[in-house]
Amino acid sequence: MSDEMKKKPYVVPIGPIHPALKEPVQFLFEMEGEVVKKADFAPGQTHRGIEWMGMRRNPVQIVHLTDRICGICGVTHSLSFARAVEQIVDIEVPARADYIRVIIAELERIQSHLLWAGVAAHELGFDTLFYLAWRVREDSLDVIENITGNRINYGLVQIGGVRRDITPEQHPVIHKCLDGYRDLLGKMLNLFLHDTTISIRCKDTGKLSFEEALHLCTVGPTARASGVVKDVRVDYPYAAYGDLDITPILPSAYGGEINGDVYDRIVVRLLEIEQSIGIIETCLKEMPEGGIIWEPKLPKLLAACKKAHGEAIGRHEAPRGECTHYVAMDGNEAPAMWKVKASSYSNLHSWIPMLEGEQLADVPIIVASIDPCLSCTDRVAVVRGNSSDLLTKEDLHRLSVEKTRRIQGC
């Protein structure tokens, strides 16, 4: 191949089918050698028209539809939607329900961050750690199942409160799980943050500067890892978060500087697990007595919703960042307008500055590092000149593992 040909950029499409975890999304990378020069992506493969369906259903039906927007953030969307409707209808949520909402939201954060930690380890070729993270994640799912009756799609939040109470008999189960995590956390921090493999692959990889994080309106751990102090739980307290003492976690909390790289995103998420454990313990201790729902009779609740006029925004700090639901109601059974802005939507654009200038082997971990609710890699067709090769997700994974070995010199 002539020198001219070698320099010519070639395009690598990735996706939209991913064999392992997440939703389909398509990437297009313009490559020069191993380096990503330009990155672009095309989401929308899983478009189901949920908002359109929602505008044909009543608010109580929509709550259960919101559970199915995302299987990982089961409580995020239902809580944001319920909060928007509660503001329009002027419903006062019982204090006990607020505490239960916080407990389940924080349990969800723990399971989601552990899920992510496993995926990140897998993308680096560290499968032992992937299995460890997913094994301990099962404990939080057991507690969630104990509280809500389901492992995924909890259906716990209802407009005006929650559908199930947390009884004193359930407290020991929850405490046992939290104590287990507390004991384990030191080990997890050690495994993730002091492991040479993870350090060399993640430090200075996929950097997002403070200015870029602000400019692209990133949210959640992605923003905090770049030093942006931003957390809806603190900035606009809702549910029981106003009663709690929370500070947004920055990577500097673990010592060291803020670089905004993949490593910092690991630090933020692992420390947030610790924070969530503390929040749940406080909530269990301080949970007031009383009712758990504003109106247990659904026809009465629906009648109140039907009379309401107005618009409101419900927001929640999901494991991935701020999630907002805009709802407008005009005296009909179904809302006049319902708009969902999920946290990954705000974060997806940060892929582009992160990916540009990086190597192809680093693409899986960088794409995973924002914890997208979309997928990354499956089938990659590399077109060099006129010939084309087909790279599967395994080939990419192999490239990633080989890079780790190369750096380690073994």
Partner: protein, 144 residues
């Protein structure tokens, strides 16, 4: 149920997300992790449909994913078994009235095993895979 000679070989499973909410997908991955550990029996997820014996399909099949689902199905070697994981792949579930659905899955490709639930538990998924093994055996024996 007696474990048959199929268990001597490994059963390769390919997972296809056709617009699911991630709930079933997460449960599929949870099912391969140490608590359930079906890899003891050789059941494992693979990255290419060309290596797979079983196709796990989740989601109600959105417009964009339907042609891709057909392509993935065609790439699999015979004998093959298709499993439909989750309620929305069987009937549309909560998404039944969406304008962007080509599904249910059995309208697009033939389905052999249905695992209902929103989302089904990992135990249910593993049970479905075991049911698929029996079907594969019959296919191999030329009974179907």
């Amino acid at each position: 149920m007696t474990l048959s000679s199929s268990f001597k070989r490994s059963l390769f499973v390919f997972h296809f997300n056709a617009g699911s909410c991630n709930g079933c997908d997460i449960e599929i991955v949870a099912a391969i992790t140490p608590r359930y550990d079906p890899e003891r029996f050789g059941v494992r997820l693979v990255g290419s449909p060309k290596h797979a014996d079983v196709l796990l399909v989740t989601g109600p099949v959105t417009g964009k994913m339907a042609p891709r689902l057909r392509r993935v199905y065609d790439q699999m070697a015979d004998p093959k078994v298709v499993m439909c994981i989750g309620t929305c792949g069987q009937s549309g579930g909560v998404f039944y009235d969406s304008y962007n659905l080509e599904g249910p899955i059995d309208q697009i490709i033939p389905v052999d095993v249905y695992v209902p639930g929103c989302a089904p538990r990992p135990e249910a998924i593993i049970h479905g895979v075991v049911t698929a093994i029996t079907k594969l055996e019959r296919l191999e024996g030329g009974e179907v």
